[in-house]
C-alpha cells in the first residue's frame, strides 16, 4: 500500500521535470524534426493524457512490470537487477564498517572521556559531519590515486581480469576501498560520536555499578554489560539513516563511476529515462522497507524488552 503511494508520488514528481526522452534522443542524433519527436512520444505513450499515463503505469507495476527503459530498450527490472549487486556491496560494506568501527571507536573513547582518543573522536565527528561526501571522495582520490598511486580511480574491476577467479575478487575489493571509505566516513564519524555518548550514559547507570560490585573486571563491564545496552541507539539511527546512505551512494558511485544503481539513476535523470528512474525509486523504497524489518529484527536480538512488548 505504502509502496503504491510511493509509486504514484514518484510518477507525479517526475512528470513535473522539464524535457523528456524525445529531447534526449533528438539531442544525441544531432537534432530531429518535430515529426520524428512526435513519433517518439507516440511510441512511448507520452502523448496521452496524464491520468491515463499514470493509470497505465500503476497497473503495470502492480503486475510486477516496471516497464522498458527508453534509453537501453531493455526491461527496467532486468536493468536494475544487473546493477543492484555493486550498489548493495558498496552500501552494506560501508554501513557495516561504519557501525562496527564507529561503535568500537565510541567504546574506546568512552573509557577515557577526557583522553586523547576521545578528543580525536570529537574532531573526527565534526569533520566527518561537515564534509560533503564528494569532497571526501575527491580528497581520497588526490591522496590515494594521484599522490600515492596505490588505488584504482574508477570502476568495479579491471575488465581484463578473468571473472570469478580469486584475483577478480581481490581486484573488486581493491576497487571497493575508496568508494567505501568515502561513503562510510560520514557515518563512521556520527556513529562513533553516538556510541561514545551512549556508552558514557550507560557506564554511569546503576546496573553497571552492580556489575562492578559483583567483582567483574572492566573488560566484562564494558563489553558485556555496557556495550549491549549502548548499541541500541546506534541500531536505531543506523536503521533510520539507511535511506540517507543511499543518496550518498549516488554521489560516490558517480564520482568513482561505480557501475551501480546510483550511477544508473544519475545518468537516467540526465537522459530523461523516466521508467528507469521510476524503477530505481521503486527498488529503493523496497530496500528501505526490508531494512526496517532487519532493524526490527536486530532490536529483538539485542533488547528483550522489545521482544516481550511485541509478542504480548
Amino acid at each position: 500500500m505504502l509502496l503504491l503511494a510511493v509509486v504514484v508520488f514518484n510518477f507525479i514528481l517526475l512528470s513535473l521535470v522539464p524535457g523528456d526522452i524525445a529531447d534526449t534522443l533528438a539531442g544525441e542524433s544531432g537534432g530531429a524534426s518535430q515529426e520524428v519527436m512526435d513519433d517518439i512520444r507516440r511510441t512511448y505513450g507520452l502523448d496521452r493524457p496524464f491520468h491515463i499515463q499514470l493509470a497505465t503505469y500503476v497497473g503495470k507495476v502492480v503486475q510486477g512490470d516496471l516497464g522498458t527503459s527508453y534509453y537501453f530498450n531493455l526491461p527496467v527490472t532486468e536493468l536494475i537487477l544487473g546493477r543492484i549487486a555493486p550498489t548493495l556491496l558498496l552500501v552494506v560494506t560501508a554501513l557495516v564498517l561504519a557501525i562496527l568501527i564507529g561503535t568500537l571507536f565510541g567504546v574506546i573513547a568512552s573509557r577515557r572521556p577526557n583522553g586523547l582518543f576521545s578528543h580525536f573522536v570529537t574532531v573526527l565527528a565534526l569533520v566527518g559531519f561537515a564534509a560533503p561526501v564528494f569532497w571526501t571522495a575527491f580528497l581520497l582520490i588526490v591522496l590515494f590515486v594521484a599522490m600515492l598511486e596505490i588505488m584504482p580511480l574508477s570502476g568495479l574491476v579491471d575488465p581484463t581480469t578473468p571473472r570469478g577467479t580469486l584475483t577478480w575478487y581481490l581486484d573488486v575489493l581493491h576497487h571497493l576501498f575508496l568508494p567505501v571509505l568515502s561513503l562510510s566516513s560520514i557515518y563512521l564519524a556520527s556513529y562513533s560520536r553516538l556510541a561514545r555518548a551512549s556508552m558514557m550514559d550507560v557506564l554511569g547507570s546503576d546496573y553497571i555499578r552492580t556489575a562492578r560490585a559483583k567483582g567483574l573486571g572492566e573488560t566484562s563491564v564494558t563489553y558485556k554489560h555496557a556495550l549491549r545496552n549502548a548499541v541500541i541507539p546506534v541500531i536505531t539511527i543506523a536503521g533510520l539513516q539507511f535511506s540517507h546512505i543511499f543518496s550518498g551512494a549516488v554521489v560516490v558511485e558517480t564520482v568513482f563511476t561505480w557501475p551501480g544503481l546510483g550511477t544508473l539513476a544519475f545518468e537516467s535523470i540526465l537522459r530523461g529515462d523516466t521508467p528507469t528512474i521510476m524503477g530505481i525509486l521503486f527498488f529503493s523504497a523496497m530496500i528501505v522497507i526490508v531494512v526496517n524489518l532487519l532493524t526490527d529484527l536486530a532490536y529483538r536480538l539485542v533488547d528483550p524488552r522489545i521482544r516481550s512488548a511485541r509478542n504480548a
Binding site: 546496573y207 559483583k214 533488547d303
Partner: protein, 333 residues
C-alpha cells in the same frame, strides 16, 4: 561484643571529591567495626556520606573525581585499601556484596535474571553454566520468588520493584559473602513491600550468618533491624551505640532530631508538633564546612565553642559515643 575479633573494621576513613566549587571532604574520620553475623545500621539524612562509606568499603568510589585520602578498611585483618585491583575483584561479590537503593535500575535490562545471578557464581566459584544456573534457581527459591524455574529465564522488566530487590538479594548472597551492604534497600519500595524485604534480609541472615551493614535515612527501619547504630552527619559519625541504648538515650541533638522524626517511636508525640517532624535547616555544602561543628547552624544548643571548633567523639555511656561539646566533661569544667 568487643571481645571477638571484628570481621570488618574501618578506621579513620577520609574521602574527598573534587568539584567545581572546590574540594569537598565527603567523609572525615569515619570508623566502624562489624562483628560476624551482626547488623550495623548507618543512619543520616540524604547526602551525609552513607553511600560513600559503603562504596569506600567496596573500593568503588569513582576516581576521579573522588579520592580515598586516608584510612584503612580491614576485612579479617587484610587492609583492602592497600589491596590490588585484582584482589578487590575477588573480594567484591564473594566476601562483601552490595545491594542498592534502586531495584528498578540496578539489574541489567538486557540479560535474564538467571544469567545475572549465575554470572557471579561462575566468576567466583568457577561453576559450569548449568551448575551456576541451578544455583540461581536455588537462590531465587531461597528469597521466596514463586515459580523460580520459570522466572530464572525472565528479564528485569518483567518483575515488580519488590521482586527485583529480592533478585538483587539472591544475587548478592549467591556466593555466601561474610558481609552484605544494603544501601537503602527499601527506600524506593512501598511500605508493605519494605517490610517484606526487611523480613527477608533477617531470614537470610539467620540462614547464612552474613553480617549486614544496613544503610537508611529511616530511624524506624534501623531500629527494627540493627544491633548497633551509627549516626552520620556531613561526612562524620556524630553518635554511635547499641540500638536500644541510642533509642532510649540519644545524646547528640541531631540523633534526637532523627528519632523525633519517627512518629511511632515516641510514646506520646508532643501535642504542638504534627505526626511527623523535621529537623529545621539543611545539610551544609561540604565544600565550605567551617572549622566548627557542622551541625551547629541547625542546633538549638549551639554555643560559640560549637561554631569555632569541631568536637571529637566523647564517651557518654557504656560503649556509647557522641561527638558533641555538650558531653565534654573536661571542657565544661
Amino acid at each position: 561484643m568487643d571481645a571477638a575479633a571484628p570481621l570488618l573494621e574501618v578506621e579513620d576513613l577520609e574521602v574527598e571529591f573534587r568539584t567545581r566549587h572546590g574540594t569537598a571532604r565527603v567523609l572525615d574520620g569515619v570508623a566502624l567495626s562489624l562483628q560476624p553475623g551482626r547488623t550495623l545500621g548507618i543512619v543520616g539524612e540524604s547526602g551525609c556520606g552513607k553511600s560513600m562509606t559503603a562504596l569506600s568499603i567496596m573500593r568503588l568510589v569513582p576516581v576521579p573525581p573522588g579520592r580515598i585520602g586516608a584510612g584503612a578498611v580491614r576485612l579479617k585483618g587484610e587492609d583492602l585499601l592497600q589491596a590490588s585491583e585484582k584482589r578487590m575483584r575477588e573480594v567484591r561479590g564473594k566476601d562483601i556484596s552490595m545491594i542498592f537503593q534502586e531495584p528498578m535500575t540496578s539489574l541489567n535490562p538486557v540479560y535474564s535474571i538467571g544469567d545475572q545471578i549465575a554470572e557471579t557464581v561462575r566468576l567466583h566459584e568457577g561453576l559450569s553454566r548449568r551448575d551456576s544456573l541451578d544455583r540461581a534457581i536455588e537462590m531465587l527459591k531461597a528469597v521466596h520468588i514463586p515459580a523460580a524455574e520459570r522466572r530464572v529465564r525472565e528479564f528485569p522488566h518483567q518483575m515488580s520493584g519488590g521482586m527485583r530487590q529480592r533478585v538483587m538479594i539472591a544475587m548478592a548472597l549467591a556466593c555466601r559473602p561474610s558481609v552484605l551492604i544494603a544501601d537503602e534497600p527499601t527506600t524506593a519500595l512501598d511500605v508493605t513491600v519494605q517490610a517484606q524485604v526487611f523480613d527477608l534480609l533477617k531470614e537470610m541472615q539467620e540462614k547464612t550468618g552474613t553480617a549486614i551493614i544496613l544503610i537508611s535515612h529511616d530511624m524506624g527501619a534501623i531500629a527494627e533491624m540493627a544491633d548497633r547504630v551509627m549516626v552520620m552527619y556531613a561526612g562524620r559519625i556524630v553518635e554511635e551505640a547499641a540500638t536500644d541504648e541510642i533509642l532510649e538515650n540519644p545524646r547528640h541533638p541531631y540523633t534526637r532530631g532523627l528519632i523525633a522524626c519517627v512518629p511511632h517511636m515516641e510514646e506520646e508525640p508532643p501535642p504542638e508538633r504534627g505526626a511527623l517532624t523535621e529537623i529545621p535547616g539543611v545539610v551544609p555544602a561540604l565544600t565550605d564546612l567551617g572549622s566548627g561543628c557542622s551541625f551547629a547552624p541547625r542546633c538549638d544548643h549551639a554555643t560559640d565553642l560549637c561554631r569555632s571548633r569541631a568536637p571529637r567523639p566523647f564517651a557518654v555511656g557504656a560503649d556509647h559515643r557522641a561527638a558533641c561539646w555538650l558531653y565534654d566533661e573536661a571542657g565544661a569544667a
